[in-house]
Symmetry: C2
Subunit: 431 residues, 2 copies
């Protein structure tokens, strides 16, 4: 992975950085890198995520998948960090033949529709929850399990569990002798893509999970005590510094359809890790070139509160646009479609620079297992570095808990003060 930060340094960028401020920033990066390295060495909570490429055992994952490796469909039942990493990986490098469905919500219309669409007898179910009690996940799993039984499918033959050391899912796995994997120690869900949590569906699809981990390892080896030598830290440091200058919005805009889910994964990583104590950039997911016809107007002409992160692979698949008799379109004939996409990338980057909107360019060699592993790893390292610079607790998510307690109370799992607060809502309804 490489990063080009030229367009945050230009005189016109607003907000922007100058060479002096980069030097000051680099001092802080050096210190933060040391803390991160120490945390990794001690396998501290969160920092341990950066050790996953070496601690994850791909053989154990393949072993757990043996019974269901010929499935035509994979159904991931999980939510948040238990689902997004897996979805990101299969969307980017999965094959076109195996369908990967994700039940990461509790919408009856969606669950009904997925169950109507897939053949449960040919489906591998991967249910993921560290605690084994996540309401959304367990509710969906109970529904799926019943649907399998109703269809005459033995659910114990087709279910893989990834969970913590104890809890209801662990007990269930033991009781029914299900293949069971451990969620990694000391790794929050949103940083667990390169572990059991993220790799099971990819393994069933036959993706090269070893290459994914090797890409992560290349990221680990690239970590260095200066932003000028380390693309991951350069990204985290520049994003943080731009935020301090007023870029409260960080637009993640990959120019590759396969990375659309990656932008969503990034949004979770960035928002949940850094959104604390009144700090944190708001991640906005976009997709090039499509969103040039949707969001670019705002980025170029709206408030100066944004940075744009443009991501692309340096090499793409080939597809030649045929020559045409249609007037005015002859310039497209015999062009590769990827060349059109890259021209749009270059044009957007220059258009933002021209308007003074700071943007950075991130490139991976190609969108394969190695390139994706590297990208995921580097973004996590960037986020952890940014967390050090913000001075927040990067690996917790305390603000999510209030709503969870309220929802549990509303569903009758014991009375909670939060559930009572819901009833006090002040209404001003307009019909």
């Amino acid at each position: 992975m490489n990063i080009d930060i030229g367009n945050v340094l230009i005189d016109e960028a607003e907000p922007g950085l100058d060479a002096d401020s980069l030097e000051t920033l680099d001092e802080r990066v050096r210190e933060a890198h040391q803390r991160i390295a120490d945390g990794r060495a001690r396998e501290e909570f969160g920092y341990a995520a950066l050790n996953l490429p070496e601690t994850t055992d791909p053989d154990a994952i393949r072993q757990a998948c043996t019974e269901v490796e010929d499935s035509e469909t994979i159904l991931t039942v999980g939510i948040g960090g238990s689902a997004l990493g897996a979805a990101t990986i299969t969307a980017a490098i999965g094959d076109d033949e195996t369908g990967h469905y994700v039940l990461d919500n509790v919408d009856p219309a969606r669950t009904n529709s997925v169950l109507a669409e897939i053949d449960l007898a040919e489906t591998a179910v991967h249910v993921v929850s560290r605690s084994g009690t996540t309401a959304e996940t367990l509710a969906n799993f109970l529904v799926v399990r019943e649907a399998m039984t109703d269809d005459g499918v033995d659910w114990t033959d087709r279910t893989i569990v990834t969970t913590g050391d104890d809890g209801p899912l662990r007990s269930l796995a033991k009781k029914h002798e299900l293949p069971a994997l451990d969620v990694p120690d000391g790794v929050p869900g949103r940083c667990a893509a390169l572990s059991t949590v993220g790799l099971v569906p990819a393994a069933i699809m036959g993706c090269d999970i070893e290459a994914l981990l090797a890409g992560g390892e290349a990221g680990a080896e690239s970590l260095a005590p200066s932003l000028f030598d380390c693309p991951a830290y350069a990204y985290g440091a520049v994003a943080h510094a731009l935020d301090q200058q007023g870029a409260g919005v960080n637009v993640m805009m990959p120019y590759a359809e396969g990375l659309e889910s990656f932008a969503e994964w990034f949004a979770q990583l960035w928002a949940e890790s850094l959104g604390k104590e009144g700090e944190g950039q708001t991640p906005v997911r976009a997709l090039g070139a499509t969103d040039q016809h949707s969001q670019l107007q705002l980025y170029r002409a709206g408030p100066r509160d944004k940075m744009v992160t443009l991501v692309r692979p340096e090499n793409r698949e080939s597809l030649t646009v045929p020559e045409t008799e249609i007037p005015d379109l002859d310039y497209l004939g015999n062009t590769d479609l990827g060349r059109v996409l890259d021209a749009e990338f270059d044009a957007t980057e220059a258009s933002l620079a021209d308007a003074g909107c700071p943007n950075v360019r991130i490139e991976i060699e190609r969108l394969d297992a190695h390139g994706l592993g590297r990208l995921l790893y580097d973004m996590q390292a960037a986020c952890i570095l940014a967390g050090e610079l913000y001075g927040v607790d990067t690996f917790t998510q305390p603000a999510v808990e209030w709503g969870k307690r309220a929802a549990r109370g509303l569903l009758g799992a014991g009375e909670t003060a939060e559930a009572r607060a819901v009833a006090d809502k002040y209404c001003r309804r307009i019909e």
Copy 2:
């Protein structure tokens, strides 16, 4: 549709509004409503979009679709406003049997993958471009047309064109006697969902497009000169006023999987219409309950620069969670999955209010053709109203043009100053 703005009025909301400022705002709404009504009466550019429910002819759309109404797959070739409305409608109310694919990008990997997946002999192609020269759309169309010919499929039997009065697509339609529909006069693409542009795939799927239009008509009838009597104007006015108080980010968070594309459609509408002259809220797409495990941490504990828009249907499909022997999960047994989702909605709303993050609740009766038509119409009316309050040119998108000229130049369609500017990029690359 109804809207509840109680949670922007509470004392704790920051930013927030008080009763007095709402009264002042209502004065401006009254004037803006008059300008909008006048614009509609004169069928002025843009305002004409609010007349679509009465000017769109569903019979003409059904007529154009006759030859391909039994297709098992629909392929929309278009970009931005030419694709998002159609995708939003079929995602929300389409059937599960007919696949709707959208080629709204120029990624060779994606176009290759779609062509490998679908049976072109059973596919209806809808190609949409007002000018008939949009590079992304025409490049994809040329590829699809050749693929059909290679597969022995007569593309002229399976292609419907929606375009302007002249241009290459219109000529092509005439030459090959293709079913051709007009893009509506005076309506920018992003406001054209309730026209030929948005309704063709829905019609092929057998959706009730008359009910969609009737829902839009109900929205038209609800427009009134006071925000206290009109949910659409209440939304546009409150969003604008909160932006002026510092809520530069507007999170659109529907609690219904079928509305995930709607959030994307809204993001285009809001960003491209209002992002001008340094003004405009940044729309952020989210999905409840999924993104509670992703973004909520930031919304609750991050910077006070946000409003959150929560959307849901008042009635949902049914799906009962089975009773379970699993300890700690008995509270889920015999609950409807939709009740879990609604409990999460209520909990998130209260959690945001508790943290002082302003939020509004929008409800439609159910997620059917009528409810969706109403929602799309009301959001457009809200956006147009907000544009009046901002004082921007709601219906143009000048900042998109720079990049288009640059891309065309790079692809060899004549030299442009913008293409030359791309070559001047200042690089600071870190590897």
